[in-house]
Every structure is written in structure tokens, then in C-alpha cells.
Amino acid sequence: MMMSTCRQMPRVQRSLLTLTADKIRSKPVQTAEAWLESALSQHWSRLYAVLYRLVGDHAEAEDLALETFWRLYRQPGVMTNPQSLSGWLYRVAMNLGFNALRAQKRRQQYENRVGRMFLEEKSGESPDAALEKSLERQRVRRALAQMKPRSAQILILRYSDFSYAEIAATLGLAVGSIGTLLARAEGEFEKIYSSLGTESQEGEQHASG
């Protein structure tokens, strides 16, 4: 039932989109492309930075950021409303980013190996220091992936310098609740992070063996 509804969606969506896009295009003031351009110039670097922080890979962060803007392009209704635009963009980016982060968890063993080979070739930084940093990043991301999604999102947004009001708008929460949720999220993160301390080393041995 659920699936059938979804399968029907693209068709409906398309016609809705065409309809709305035509409406916007018929306005002399601004076209869908112009809206997209203004959203892109306003939000690109910040959106990219948030996504990079989350997934830790330039190509993947870029892909996800582009995907977010592409979806925006298909949603002209959102574009024309500046109040909801920013919240929508970061919400979508967060969802995509976290899906990617969870998928990463499954790829991790492979990446451990590749990462090590890569690091050994890399000049400048001593291999040990670089490896340690990479393991540290992995540990942080694994902790994030294990957290309750909302907590992890609050944390990432806050540490990307989002104000409480912006976090609330992005995640659809009340501004007054952000302090409490953030404090709780920080506690949750530290707990999981420290529990991963010994485990990640075992994982590393396992992956290299």
C-alpha cells in the first residue's frame, strides 16, 4: 500500500511541478532558475560545509549538496518562500547526509584498508599522525551515526554555527526546547564516543587482518 502510493508519486509530482513551474515562469519578476540561483549563491558554501562535516568526503558532500539543490529545483513552491527555504534546505541536506553516514558505516572496513594505503602514500604529514587523525574522524562519525538522528542533527547544526532559532526552523522544533535537547545530545554523544574508544581499535585490527 505504502509502496504503491509512492510509485504513483513521480507522475503526480511531475504534473504539480510543471504546473507550479509554469506559474512561476509566467511571472515576469523571477523565474525558477533565478530563484535557484539566488538560493545557491546564498546557501551553497554553508550547506556544503555542513555536509562535509557530516560525511567527511569532498566528493560525497558535493554530490549530496547538489542533490539537495536539485530537489529544491523540483520544489518551486519552497523556493519562492524565503522563510521556509533555509529550513527546508538544511533539513533535506541533513536527511541525505545521515543516510549517507549510515551507509558509510557499512563501507567502513573497506575504507579502513583504502585509507591506510592512501595515507601511506601521502607526503608531508607523518603517516602515523595522519592515520590517527583519520581514525579519530571515523570514531566521531561512528558515534554520530549511532546517536538518535535528531540529537545528532542538532549537534551537527550547532557545531556548524547555527543559532538556536535556525536549528529550530530546520528541524521543526520550538526554539525554547533547543537548549535542553542540545545538552542532552552532547551527553549522548560523549557517552557513545567514549564507548567506541576501545572498540575502534579492535575494528582496525580486524580490518587489517
Binding site: R53, A65, W70, Y73, W88, N95, S163, Y164, I178, T180
Partner: protein, 391 residues
């Protein structure tokens, strides 16, 4: 009266209005307990900040706005093409989801669209009297499967689906029975009243084009899989009768909202419905295929597409009675299954217990030529009780 933790946190993060800030400062000046809490929160925040600091990137590595702009233009152009293709493809494909796929796809293989596509295309070869579960490793699945143009073209050109009517909502068990032409059974003792819907039957005709099928296998990088020659031109007919679904609890799925939130309609990892139990029943699909079709060989190909080696597939294929069994692929990780005694017969309980997604169960069984599927949130402990209360 002490300060709320959230307020202290907001104060430390400089997120309070002037009035609130003054209030907090005034209280902190006289309350050592709140001072201690503030100090704890500050040091926790500092620690988290240090840990998360490893995640920052250097700005010069970020793609510039200009390059983002041009990549986005390319993406829009590319996706327009795909969307057009999907548009052509979706309407014909859809009815298969409504009835047949309802059972096997609803919750089992939710994790992979490719498997669903394959399972559906092969469904025509089975007369379902029982289920067998085969565990597949998602990593072994051909990646290209999900966006195979040839597969789409096969559905567009070689699969014909005729749906006999529209989905109808009915108000009682009797009405559902009458409309569906079978004795509809419903669980007793549910908290909510069900929403009952009758899905129309459908006739699916699939004319096998061996060349095209082989081309699909090539496209997905499995040109090594060989299909039996006598498959070419064979027509397979699947006759689906009406199915009845009963939904309990909060099952309203709002596709528009989900899409807004960034869920991809083509990616079935949709927001779960934490309070929705769905019960589906339909007469076993009747499938007619020409005699002489080597079902076991086709089954082997199917299993290979799912990632088995030729030897494994051959071995497994021997253990299955392909004329009566629907082989359901489930992901090897995050999903478990077991045989259970349900409703007086053997059934299969499949659990999605990956930590990444909310737990969900799917219980399937066949009794008196009726296929039953019950799916809901949780680990399935209530599933058997519900299933055994059917009346």
C-alpha cells in the same frame, strides 16, 4: 527555584534575549548548585567541541560556487531525462505493485528496489503456495539494476498489465468479502477499527524476449548468467485476484510531506509508521506458463542475479519446488527470519532489526490457497497473537 538545564545551556551559547540573560546571571550569582551545573555544561560542551573539531574541512577544498552552478545545471539536465523515462515507465508498472508486489514487497525487500524489480519480473513464474527465504548480500547485487534502461523497456514493451477496477474503501468485513469474492478474515481484539480496502485483481501478461533478457543481464554486468533457450517467446500469465488490506492505527502516509522532508520516493527507505499494523490477504496468484519451461534453470538465474555463484545457485535451486514456491530475497544484514507455526500452518516471520531503522516485522503464510501477510512495528512478539486471532 533553580534554572532549567536548557536555559543554562542557551545562556552559555549566548542564545538568550537580554531580559533572559539578566535573569540567568542574577540567579547564577546567588546559586552555587546552578553555577556547578553551568560549569559542567560548559566543560561538556568544550569536550564535544574538541571532538567534533576533527570534522572541519579547509575552505580551499570546497567546490566554488561557479563549479557548483555548472554541476547543478548538468544534474538538472540529466535528471530531466531520467524523470521523463520514469514517467513513461511508472503507469504500467504500478498495478503490479498494487496487488502482487503488495505481499512480497511491502516490507520484506523494502531495502532494495533492484530486488523488487527482479522479484516482480520473475514472479510470473511461480505459483505461490509457500515461501522460502534466501539471504542476499546487498553488496553482491548489481548496482546498475536500479536504473537499467533495458529493464524499464522490458516492463514497458513486454509486460502488459490489465487492472480490473479501482481500489475501493469498504466499511465492513462483509462488504469486503462480497467485493473481493472471498471470505475475508480479520484479527480480533485490535485496539483500533481497521481501514479496509479492496484492491482490484489484475492480469499480467509477460512475453519473454530472450535477447532483451540477456541484454539486461549484460547491462547489469552479469552476462555470465545463461537463460534457457526455450524461454524465448514464451508467454507467462499471472492472474491476480482481488486483495484486501486492513490497516490498524496511524497508517496515513503522506507522500507529499515525506518528499518535502527529503525522502526519495524512489528509495523505499521511507519514514516508518510506528503505529501502523497492516494485514493483507489475497488468493494465491495463478500463474500459467508454457509447459516445458525449465523453472529450475530460471530459478538458478534468479538466484545468481541475487548474488549467488553458479554453484550455489544450482545447489539451492534443487532444494526448491519452483512451481509452488516464491523465493523472497531478504538482505543478509539487518534482517533475520524464522519458520513459525501460525494460523495452523507453517509461516515465515521476517524481522528487520537493523539498528539503523525502526524494527519491523513481516509475517507471511499461505492457508487454503490464500496468501496472508501481516506487518507492523516491533519485533513480532504480537504478530502471532494477532495472526492466531483471525476470524
Amino acid at each position: 527555584m533553580h534554572l532549567a538545564e536548557g536555559k543554562i545551556k542557551a545562556y552559555l551559547d549566548q542564545q538568550l534575549s537580554l531580559a533572559d540573560r539578566e535573569e540567568v546571571e542574577a540567579h547564577l550569582a546567588i546559586c552555587s548548585l546552578c553555577q556547578q551545573r553551568a560549569a559542567d555544561l560548559r566543560s561538556l560542551g568544550k569536550q564535544v567541541g574538541q571532538h567534533l573539531a576533527v570534522l572541519t574541512s579547509s575552505p580551499e577544498q570546497s567546490p566554488t560556487l561557479a563549479s557548483a552552478r555548472s554541476s547543478l545545471q548538468n544534474r538538472i539536465a540529466d535528471k530531466e531525462k531520467t524523470t521523463m523515462r520514469n514517467k513513461i515507465f511508472a503507469p504500467r508498472y504500478r498495478p503490479a505493485w498494487v496487488a502482487a508486489a503488495l505481499i512480497l514487497v511491502l516490507a520484506v525487500a523494502l531495502l532494495f528496489p533492484p530486488v523488487q524489480a527482479i522479484a516482480n519480473s520473475f514472479l510470473g513464474l511461480f505459483r505461490v503456495q509457500q515461501f522460502t527465504v534466501v539471504q542476499v548480500n546487498p553488496e553482491n547485487l548489481p548496482e546498475q539494476l536500479g536504473n537499467s534502461a533495458q529493464l524499464e523497456s522490458m516492463f514497458t514493451n513486454n509486460v502488459q498489465i490489465q487492472e480490473n477496477g479501482e481500489v475501493q474503501q469498504v466499511s465492513s468485513q462483509e462488504e469486503a468479502s462480497q467485493l473481493a469474492g472471498m471470505a475475508v478474515r480479520l484479527p480480533v481484539g485490535m485496539r483500533n477499527q481497521p481501514i479496509l480496502k479492496v484492491m482490484p485483481g489484475a492480469e499480467i501478461t509477460y512475453e519473454i524476449d530472450l535477447k532483451l533478457a540477456q541484454a539486461i543481464l549484460n547491462e547489469i554486468g552479469r552476462g555470465d548468467i545463461r537463460l534457457p533457450d526455450n524461454l524465448d517467446g514464451a508467454t507467462v500469465q499471472v492472474n491476480l485476484q482481488s486483495a484486501v488490506t486492513a490497516m490498524y492505527g496511524d497508517c496515513e502516509f503522506n507522500p507529499e510531506q515525506a518528499r518535502q522532508e527529503g525522502y526519495d520516493p524512489d528509495n523505499p527507505r521511507l519514514p516508518s509508521l510506528p503505529d501502523c499494523t497492516t494485514f493483507v490477504q489475497m488468493p494465491s496468484p495463478v500463474i500459467s506458463a508454457p509447459p516445458g519451461l525449465d523453472l529450475q534453470k530460471i530459478g538458478e538465474a534468479y538466484l545468481q542475479v541475487l548474488g549467488m555463484s553458479a554453484e550455489e545457485a544450482a545447489q539451492f535451486a534443487q532444494t526448491v519446488d519452483w512451481t509452488t514456491t516464491l523465493v523472497i530475497p531478504i538482505p543478509r544484514y539487518g534482517t533475520t527470519y524464522k519458520e513459525v507455526l501460525v494460523d495452523g500452518v507453517n509461516g515465515t516471520l521476517i524481522l528487520q532489526d537493523s539498528e539503523d531503522y525502526p524494527k519491523q516485522y513481516l509475517l507471511i503464510w499461505v492457508k487454503d490457497s490464500i496468501l496472508y501477510a501481516l506487518t507492523g512495528p516491533g519485533n513480532g512478539s504480537s504478530a502471532l497473537r494477532v495472526a492466531n486471532s483471525l476470524k
